[in-house]
């Protein structure tokens, strides 16, 4: 769906047509007639509203009219529930949309105190995981207590089942994998979810599954549960009968969810709470194998183990359940609808094993973490080994390789070249794969140093798949490296809106720091660190941001944090820290780090760029320039930034380096 069209429809049908002028101006030509007709429809909407004598839009509730609650600007009410109202709101400082849940005052009392909600928000804000909705804060303002989190666009699993019927086992298993990881993240943070159900799980357009509504979660150690249970149909027997919450209670609910996904039914049903309790007491349930006899035995076994009456017979941890699902997914046959949904047409495979490997690869890929990439790559490679004409799997390989190369797990020249071959193969099989163009754009940018070709590919990628976070993120980096900061920021922010979890990457903050907007960048990085105080990437990026702003002391402090949290294993961190130390007359410490880099290089790939920067600090241009030539030969991706930020990196624009970069075409003159 074209974002401009969607935005126009949303303005009209939420009664905000007056904000029309805030619509993005860059509307593709082919979408303009549709937007024009939406404006005609707005006239009809207004006429009917006048006839109904009602104000347009669901709007904020009267008590929040005026539009501001704490740090948030209220946009509109988007839902009401038993515990409170949910508003679409905007964090003004970060210009970011969030969902704000305001509790009904009458719901707060001895069993749920304002301080409980604030405490809960504080706790949840510590959890940052791609499969868990990110909570950003909780406050008590104007007599109301509220908690705000990412605003996720997608459909709930309940929606999906209602509209398309039950899922098949393969799809349910991949969803189960993501939810096991979500639960593991919560449980490791000491939090129970306690309301896992199909309506509380969203699926985004790119397939990411997100566990939502953490509103009734609680700390494991809390003596008195805040509330007893979530939805009775999903509650474990011990929760319903004795009010005992535990990790196994969440695992049981996940079992019910998987049961529901494949059957559209519940293992224990009843019209009233009393019915459900007595069904549990008498164990009047329907086994999954009797309801859906054709499901893979492995899968049925996993669901039934999760649903064991005794919590001691269930999986001990969500991670254990995840491992069982992975093993089962590899063994089982069956066709996934997700592959079709992702990309109907010639991209698919008829080989069930290839498809399973692909699904598993996507599941690792969606973790958006460095550790997941090699596993994802391996799965995609296994998929193409099974089916050499499986376009989506080639795309997966190419995407993994672009990131692996950019993050320097391997020599970039080799990685980007392999990424190009995989992307080209994917496009030969299916020319409509937008993200394969995104991958090629990245290769043109980082390997060919051809920004014109790169931009052409990114434009094509966005044209084919306007919602792609992958293509848009790379495009934002290209624009930023070319010094087109405004365009870069628009693109980065649009990707953030599409995928709030991209805080993991914080692309908008990177763009801001390159644009010299330090304060705004730091605010976003700090937000990311709230969720993961030990994020090496965030400390590194903050270090670079301070360095670009000329604050060497703070830059050093950030890089020292990155060094500590990476255990000294990140070559880029070591190199940059050594450079800073050398530039502040601590040459001995710098030399120790150089030795550390050399040692690191005996075990794994260490980029020439990382080895070069300490020598810049030490003023040894002979060694520095030689390593720069090596970095150029390796196609180190950091070199693409030199044109836009090189003059703010102390020492790198000395004549020897400039000549070398200029002759390589990095600074624009070949």
């Amino acid at each position: 769906m074209e974002p401009a069209v969607w935005a126009a429809a949303d303005l009209i049908f939420t009664g905000r047509e007056a904000e029309w002028d805030r619509m993005p101006m860059a509307i593709p030509l082919d979408q303009r007639p549709v937007i024009q007709e939406l404006r005609s429809i707005a006239v009809v909407v207004a006429a009917h509203a006048e006839n109904q004598e009602i104000p347009l839009g669901l709007g904020p509730k009267p008590e929040l009219a005026g539009g501001v609650w704490g740090p948030l600007e209220i946009i509109e009410l988007i839902g009401t529930g038993a515990f409170g109202d949910v508003y679409r709101a905007r964090e003004q400082r970060l210009d970011r949309q969030v969902a704000l849940k305001i509790y009904h005052p009458h719901r707060l009392g001895p069993s749920l105190m304002t301080s409980d909600v604030i405490e809960e928000g504080r706790l949840l804000a510590k959890v940052r995981h791609p499969n868990v909705v990110a909570v950003h804060g909780a406050e008590h303002c104007d007599g109301r207590v509220g908690i705000w989190m990412d605003c996720i666009e997608g459909e709930t699993l309940e929606d999906r089942v209602n509209e398309h019927g039950p899922f098949n086992a393969m799809d349910a298993m991949t969803i189960g994998l993501d939810l096991c990881r979500a639960l593991t993240a919560l449980h490791e943070a000491g939090i129970l979810h306690r309301d896992i159900k199909a309506r509380n799980v969203m699926r985004e357009a790119d397939g990411r599954v997100i566990l939502m509504d953490l509103g009734i979660s609680c700390e494991m150690e809390r003596e008195t549960p805040v509330r007893q249970y979530g939805t009775p149909l999903y509650a474990a027997p011990e929760v319903l009968l004795a009010g005992e919450s535990s990790r196994q209670g969440d695992i049981y609910s996940l079992g019910v969810l998987l049961y529901y996904l494949v059957s559209g039914r519940y293992p224990i049903s009843g019209a009233t709470l009393a019915d459900i309790r007595s069904a549990h007491a008498a164990w009047r349930g329907d086994s999954l194998s009797s309801v859906c006899p054709d499901l893979p035995e492995d899968f049925v076994g996993i669901v039934e183990k999760a649903l064991a009456v005794s919590r001691f017979e269930r999986f001990t941890t969500a991670a254990e359940m995840e491992q069982n699902l992975i093993a089962s997914l590899k063994r089982c046959g069956g066709r996934s609808h997700f592959v079709h949904a992702d990309r109907p047409g010639q991209s698919q495979t008829d080989d069930q094993q290839a498809q399973n490997h692909y699904l598993l690869g996507r599941s690792f890929w969606r973790q958006r973490a460095k550790g997941g990439l090699p596993k994802a790559l391996e799965c995609f490679q296994e998929a193409v080994a099974r089916d050499p004409d499986f376009a989506l799997a080639y795309l997966g390989i190419s995407q993994c390789l672009t990131l692996i190369s950019y993050w320097q797990f391997m020599r970039p020249r080799d990685g980007f070249a392999a990424a190009r071959a995989a992307a080209e193969r994917a496009l030969a099989l299916d020319p409509g794969l937008g993200e394969a163009h995104g991958s090629l754009g990245c290769v043109h940018m980082c390997l060919d140093w051809d920004p014109v070709a790169a931009e052409r590919e990114f434009e094509r990628a966005i044209q084919l798949d306007s919602q792609s976070v992958f293509s848009g993120t790379w495009y934002a980096l290209l624009l930023s490296s070319a010094g087109r900061h405004g365009d870069a920021l628009s693109m980065a922010r649009s990707r953030r809106e599409l995928n709030p979890a991209s805080l993991v990457i914080a692309i908008d903050a990177i763009v801001l720091s390159h644009a010299g907007r330090l304060e705004e960048a730091l605010e976003i990085f700090q937000l990311g660190l709230k969720g993961d105080p030990e994020s090496v990437a965030h400390h590194n990026h903050m270090g670079l941001a301070y360095l670009l702003a000329g604050d060497s002391a703070r830059a050093e402090s950030c890089l020292r944090n990155a060094f500590k949290f990476s255990g000294g294993q990140e070559a880029w961190t070591v190199g940059m820290l050594a450079m800073l130390l050398a530039q502040s007359d601590r040459g001995d410490e710098a030399r120790q780090l150089i030795a550390h880099l050399d040692e690191l290089g005996t075990r794994r790939y260490v980029s020439a760029f990382s080895r070069m920067v300490p020598w810049i600090g030490l003023g040894r241009d002979d060694k520095g320039v030689a390593l720069l030539e090596e970095a150029i030969d390796e196609r180190d991706p950091y070199l693409i930034w030199m044109k836009s930020i090189g003059d703010r990196l102390p020492g790198i624009m000395a004549p020897g380096y400039v000549d070398c970069m200029r002759s390589a075409g990095i600074l624009g003159h070949r």
């Binding site: 769906m1 069209v5 969607w6 429809a9 949303d10 009209i12 049908f13 939420t14 009664g15 007639p33 549709v34 937007i35 024009q36 007709e37 939406l38 005609s40 429809i41 006239v43 009809v44 909407v45 006429a47 009917h48 509203a49 006048e50 006839n51 109904q52 004598e53 009602i54 104000p55 347009l56 839009g57 669901l58 709007g59 509730k61 009267p62 009410l77 988007i78 839902g79 009401t80 529930g81 038993a82 109202d85 949910v86 009904h104 666009e153 459909e155 709930t156 309940e158 929606d159 209602n162 199909a198 309506r199 007893q228 249970y229 939805t231 009775p232 149909l233 019209a271 009233t272 709470l273």
Partner: protein
């Protein structure tokens, strides 16, 4: 769209202690099932949810000249109850069937009555088109051209799309009420479905203009 209609009740909220036989907590689909089995209390609940707005909607569709001679309220109420009773019996009924069928039925009755009124002595003359004996307040506001284009594109949509757009655009229901009426799991899901249907409507209008 009516703020005052928002209640603390979430659609199909199944929080502990809510009896499923509390009519105010049942979805439209469940109420229709109960109407079919002769439950008058369910009929009252569904009438309370829809009728006031349906009457206002109908009054906007009736030509001004016909208002004096047609009792809109009776006509709408009569049609509404007939539809509610008959739709409940349709096998494999989708959530959108009721609103879509309701709109069509009431609109047909209004047109019949308007035609009938125009034939009475002293009534306003017909302008030659069946569809526009004389303009309704709605047509006066938006004009014949847009009204016709909207209506003809609207009729080409699926039952579900017509239902959701009818409830949002024409009846002015909130997303929460739409979620309840059409068995959507949340107000936000309803909002997204409205957007999708609205975009399909706009595409139909755009395609029709190019044909």
């Amino acid at each position: 769209m009516n703020d005052s209609s928002e209640s603390d009740r979430s659609p199909r909220e199944s929080t502990p202690g809510n009896s499923p036989f509390d009519w105010t907590n049942l979805t439209t689909c469940h109420l229709l099932d109960r109407v079919q089995s002769g439950d008058e209390r369910a009929l009252e609940e569904i009438v309370a949810r829809y009728l006031p707005r349906l009457k206002r909607w109908a009054s906007g569709r009736l030509p001004r000249g016909a208002r004096d001679v047609v009792d809109t309220d009776d006509l709408v109420q009569d049609s509404f109850i007939k539809v509610a009773r008959s739709v409940g019996g349709i096998r494999d009924r989708k959530p959108g069937t009721f609103p879509a069928y309701l709109r069509e039925t009431v609109l047909n009755r209004l047109r019949d009555e308007a035609r009938r009124a125009s034939r009475r002595p002293g009534a306003m003359p017909l302008d030659g088109t069946e569809l526009h004996p004389c303009p309704s307040p709605l047509e006066e506001t938006i004009g014949h051209e847009l009204s016709d284009r909207y209506e003809s594109a609207f009729l080409s949509l699926s039952d579900d799309d017509r239902a959701i757009l009818f409830l949002r655009i024409e009846m002015g229901m909130s997303f929460t009420e739409i979620a309840d009426a059409l068995d959507r799991p949340s107000a936000d899901a309803a909002r997204m479905a409205v957007n999708r249907a609205g975009i399909r409507l706009a595409r139909e209008m755009s395609d029709a203009r190019q044909r």
